[in-house]
């Protein structure tokens, strides 16, 4: 015979109900977001259909052409480039902090990276627009380009990679490292054969999280990538990513055009949330 214990305190019952309703609200936000994205996307999904979003003659929403493919490609290209740059450098700077730097420098370095992580994307965008783009323009005009987008995104997500990698390396059990040291393995051997494999899932999680951030970032790319809707032929072509497209056109979009922008928002959300969930599974969550 098992009993359910009923607490007689009314205050506690009321408290429990109040807390539950707050939690329902918190969960409700996510459901509301999904609901409204689907609701607003629905007209476009019905009348345009998924296929035309990749097969139309181009992105001319006012003339009824809704090809998102160039922007999808630009989005992936910019994020991929950013990760290819920020991944190795971010992991290397975490390795620097954990294995190479003297303690005082390591601590200062970590603080600097944390500070970098807190800089708003619009500030990165401003700096990219006024410093980076002119430099690229001198070399390969017009300057505002896929490359500028990649570099700024890389700069932005680098702290994410570095901080998650740092946490993952920190979590490697000390006895592994001591064991390897006792065997007289070289520093490089220690890092490549012991530390990085042991921290692998955290490192991959951090990279996925950084990828999600790069794909979902709006302001920084919008400000430096030139915003021309085209499939880039080179790193120096201006491109427009999905997020920037929404930010640029939402102000005046109506009817199917507006709905099509919501479709791209929905797609973006599913993609980014999927990546973030994968990252979370691998333990690459950043706290705070």
């Amino acid at each position: 015979m098992s009993r359910s214990h009923v607490n007689k305190s009314h205050a506690d019952d009321i408290l429990r109900i109040a807390l539950m309703s707050a939690a329902v609200l918190a969960v409700g936000v996510l459901l509301l977001i999904l609901l409204f994205l689907v609701r607003e996307s629905w007209p476009a999904l019905q009348r345009i259909g998924l296929y035309r979003f990749v097969s139309d003659a181009g992105w001319h929403p006012l003339e009824g052409a809704f090809n998102l493919a160039p922007m999808l490609i630009a989005t992936f290209a910019a994020a991929l480039g950013a990760i290819l740059i920020a991944g190795p450098i971010g992991i290397a700077s975490a390795v620097f902090g954990r294995f190479y730097a003297p303690p005082v420098i390591a601590e200062t370095f970590r603080r600097m990276v944390a500070l970098l992580a807190g800089i708003p994307s619009v500030v990165f965008g401003l700096w990219g627009l006024t410093v980076l783009v002119p430099i690229i323009a001198k070399w390969q005009p017009p300057g505002a380009s896929l490359l500028a987008g990649m570099l700024i995104l890389a700069f932005m997500v680098l702290p994410t990679v570095a901080l998650t990698a740092d946490a993952a390396l920190k979590a490697v059990p000390k006895q592994y490292l001591h064991g390897a040291n006792a065997l007289g393995i070289s520093q490089a051997g220690l890092i490549f054969n012991v530390a990085i494999p042991a921290a692998r899932s955290g490192l991959i999680g951090g990279i996925l999280l950084a990828t999600a951030r790069a794909l979902g970032e709006t302001m920084a790319v919008l400000m430096v990538a030139g915003n021309v809707v085209q499939v880039p032929n080179s790193l120096f072509d201006p491109v427009r990513v999905l997020t920037a497209n929404i930010a640029l056109e939402m102000a005046y979009a109506t009817t199917e055009h507006r709905s099509a922008l919501f479709v791209s928002g929905l797609a973006l959300m599913l993609l980014v949330v999927g990546l973030a969930a994968m990252a979370g599974k691998l333990g690459g969550r950043l706290h705070g």
């Binding site: 098992s2 009993r3 607490n7 007689k8």
Partner: protein, 289 residues
Amino acid sequence: MTQIKQTPTHCCSEVNNSNAYTLGPIEAGPPCCEPDPAIRVQNLTLSYGGQSALDNVSLDIYRGCITALIGPSGCGKTSFLSSINRLTDLIPNCTVTGKVEIENTDIHAADMDVQALRRRVGMIFQKPNPFPLSIRRNIQMPLREHGVKDRALLETKLQTALQDVGLWDEVKDRLDSSALSLSGGQQQRLCIARALALQPEILLMDEPCSALDPLSSAVVEDLILSLSGRYTVVIVTHNLAQARRIANYAGFFWAKERTGKLVEFGRCQQIFESPAHELTAAYVSGARG
């Protein structure tokens, strides 16, 4: 099933025996009164998510006496204590079956007022746990919670409780400083005072001295001894000498395949000097556990 040797009646049968309560020099425990059960535990079985921790325990705990529960770690003593004030409610997946009656009320009944129950049954833990508040607030906050609003009364109760545990003279000048600034032994006495202030009938103590230094431990032990007669005390202890010094009754628990059972229960003197069960004999002589 383990045979339970329960010999509560011999206390009374020995009342006529003039030597029955001469407890000898080490056993300074106070003489026992009429063995009048304050708590009746019948077929208590307790499990944590399918793993049973305590199997079919039955015993009576006598009013005004000190009952010590002894046995090795992990044999269900703490689980047993927690089922007397329904602290088991806080543990997810914990199932309790059987009956625990305090003054003829089944405390595991669904309509039991748990907060009122816990006011009547105080509990002290191994690690002193004063709240991060002032000494005064530590004692007065639970009183307010139970409806004592009158300031003068609150102050009187504060002083009485602190005097009861011999802490008044040590802290009367700093009642508003943090309870965490007290020493470990003082903290434990404050926790006892906090429980006493609510005027409970029963005090459950889970190894109350084991986290303290020897000197503080002796002070707290004397305090516990002074509570007997006024309160029904159930104390879990790993310190056999302490159990002999302070307890009137003793119960010996032993775990088989992680399930605790009450092996033997009786007068403290009998448990230590003429245990009926061979496991008890081995444990109290230091041969097992």
